[in-house]
């Protein structure tokens, strides 16, 4: 008589079960898993790129100015019930303020727990980037501007900034190859 799976059966009889003992023993997610988002408002420059690249429009921004007009409060809320966890916001974030952590415990009874908010407080400045004399009209500042506030005309050597659109993130200043932009 032949027992084709006898060896396998005996081996499995003395081996550990393959089932994860999950609620008792916490199972960490694999490296690079995209879970709950973490937001650091201190690193944020309020450039607004995350809002623009978010495909399910899960990110909302609310800006309030204090009564004396000196301080700005910028509140960003990330709705995890609307998120696709595509990580595009993290990839586009210039300063690394957004990070998708490996925390996947997101089963809640109150959906408000899944909204991640952070408030950035900064001095309200009326200071916008200015062009220096060394400008070669390379249009790089126009390309990196997340809010399309800068327009550069190469042929006529004109440089213009729309102060309504500018959020004073300073990305253009840091990316200028001639270091002629100042803020």
């Amino acid at each position: 008589m032949k027992f084709p799976f006898a060896k396998e059966a005996v081996k499995n009889l003395f081996s550990k079960p393959s089932t994860e003992n999950f609620p008792k023993v916490d199972v960490p997610a694999k490296k690079g898993y995209r879970g709950r988002l973490s937001y650091d408002p201190d690193k944020c420059t309020n450039c607004g790129l995350c809002v623009r690249v978010c495909s399910p429009s899960a990110i909302t921004v609310e800006t309030t100015v204090s009564e004396d007009g000196d301080t700005e409060y910028i509140t960003r809320s990330f709705d995890m019930t609307s998120c696709t966890f595509c990580q595009t916001c993290e990839d586009f974030c210039d300063t690394g303020a957004i990070h998708l952590t490996e925390d996947y415990h997101m089963a809640v009874t109150d959906p408000k727990e899944l909204i991640i908010t952070g408030t950035k407080t900064r001095r309200k400045v009326y200071d916008y980037p200015e062009k220096g004399e060394d400008c070669v009209y390379c249009t790089l500042c126009m390309k990196v501007c997340p809010n399309e506030a800068i327009t550069v005309d190469r042929a006529n050597k004109e440089w213009e900034i729309d102060t309504d659109k500018c959020v004073q993130c300073g990305i253009c200043v840091s990316k200028c190859p001639k270091k002629c932009l100042t803020m």
């Binding site: 609620p23 199972v27 495909s55 399910p56 019930t81 696709t84 966890f85 415990h105 089963a107 009874t109």
Partner: protein, 155 residues
């Protein structure tokens, strides 16, 4: 005594009915993975029921599309009370990337109270187990409340 026995045994075997309302199939696969030997939700008594009439927990995945809306409502009417609704993934909660579409009639909260929402796109099987376990606890509370009401009505 019989009633107590039934209550104790139903509390330990919450049956799931899964309805796909236009999901991309990602969440559905994860829910099925939960019932496989690796994650094994049947340890807690969860079992996929074939009909909503046998179900205690309704798991909804997908943004509610125009085509599936009527079916969803008909399904929810057939589930015996008390029951729990679990929303799987981002879609039933908000519509995810499909929100604003002409054929999406979500979110699910418009039609029924969602007891547990599991976030993720798709949620990890462990997160699904967590959500179902929470739903089972809520179901227990609901049953107790309902039994209390019945006793009051009888006396």
């Amino acid at each position: 005594m019989f009633k107590k026995l039934i209550a104790a045994s139903t509390a330990k075997s919450p049956w799931i009915y899964h309805i796909n309302t236009g999901s991309c199939n990602g969440c559905d696969i994860e829910l099925v993975a939960v019932l496989t030997p690796r994650y094994d939700a049947e340890r807690f008594g969860f079992k996929l029921a074939g009909t909503p009439r046998h179900a205690d927990i309704v798991v909804v995945s997908g943004p509610i599309t125009s085509q599936s809306k009527a079916r969803l409502l008909r399904t929810l009417e057939q589930v015996p009370k008390p029951f729990c609704v679990v929303s799987l993934g981002s879609c039933p909660r908000s519509g995810n990337v499909f929100k604003g579409s002409y054929s999406v009639e979500g979110p699910l909260e418009k039609y029924v109270h969602v007891d547990v929402s599991v976030a993720g796109c798709t949620p990890k099987p462990e997160a699904v187990i967590e959500g179902l376990y929470t739903a089972a606890q809520i179901l227990k509370e609901k049953r107790k409340a309902m039994a209390g009401k019945k006793e009051v009505a009888e006396s």
